[in-house]
Symmetry: C2
Subunit: 209 residues, 2 copies
Amino acid sequence: MGSEVSTGAGRKARGRDERRQAILDGAFAVFARRGYAQTCVQEVAQEAGVAKPTVYNHLADKESLYREAVEAAADRVGARSLAVVEGLREVAPDADLREGLRAAGRGLLQACHDEEARAVHRLASAEAARFPDLETSARERTALRIRSALADRLARLVLAGRLRPCEPELAAEHFLALLTGPLVYRPDAEPDALARAAAEVFLRAYGPG
Amino acid sequence: MGSEVSTGAGRKARGRDERRQAILDGAFAVFARRGYAQTCVQEVAQEAGVAKPTVYNHLADKESLYREAVEAAADRVGARSLAVVEGLREVAPDADLREGLRAAGRGLLQACHDEEARAVHRLASAEAARFPDLETSARERTALRIRSALADRLARLVLAGRLRPCEPELAAEHFLALLTGPLVYRPDAEPDALARAAAEVFLRAYGPG
DNA sequence: TCTGAATTGAACGTACTGGTTCAGAAATTT
DNA sequence: AAATTTCTGAACCAGTACGTTCAATTCAGA
């Protein structure tokens, strides 16, 4: 029972878990570019390099396929973004805070606003009617985790006197809003310019009095 | 030709345009709660109080139905939001700017983040695969219009010395981001608290030196 | 090499829905 | 009141895709 260790050269997904992952990855890719209804299970199987009955061997039905694929992708995005925020841990007490925030902003734009991340949000909210809980589930795995981690970092910066006293959660929301908000109006804006502007404005509002 | 004047007591949509509007309204309502694929034309007809062939009499096919319904709703949302922003025109030179921004923020949250507005954005991005241009079309009718109008108001405030010199478009993006960004993390946040925080932070960043 | 499990390709039944057609009813106009 | 247009209800056709079944084949492990 369980999955056996992959002995081969890994040309194809061997163990059971790996094959399952391959199917979920393929499913996410197809769902992302076609949407739920337009996607037929046959196409998912093709994308995963597998036969249709095999898909149903690993996942109960199309709905499970969707839910699991989106949640797995959300976990990936969350993990990536979290790593970026953790980078803020290493701002030396005498380093330029603006530069640190700017770097974090750049990283966050790459991590939580790349193609995969946007697809996660789109897919989660698109089928909110069919999967009422998927939207909140995805939010928890991505946005809420990121805010929480960022709030931790900001709280330490407040204690260090580098930011004015404030509610860390709200400040985190504001930084992330300043960073990603403009993308609504300019989807192809330069990440560097966005990060610069966000750090600048955030520090004017939240920098030490 | 064209639509005749509605003579009856309006119990039902009489003129041709009115009936068309009734169909589009019904379509938007059903699409909003079911999504595109889950919606069958029969249900739209029922919601509009009309027979299925009548729907096809007024609109070519299901795709037109979707596109036109979403765009009409986007226009409504845009018009509502624009009216709110125009309210900023009347901030007296000696009035409390923070209070004016706060009021505008409250109004904008009602106008461009109510049920209908959120449905517009969801429907536009959900079917971006099928309707590549609908997403940008909806964005132009709502977000871009709002930003433009708000930038106009902010530019005047800069000239009046009530805001520091800045790029009005960017400042508008930042105000809107501060206002609506937190909703990503707290969908049920108090509009009043959001508007207060947004105005507060915005003025710390963009208020006169 | 042998055994059992997993995978494959194909086909099948079923259900749903988009878009159309048609004859009759209703309503509006003349 | 007669005529014309529009709406209605029902039925119909075609296409599509889900989920399943099955025999044949491949693969993993002993």
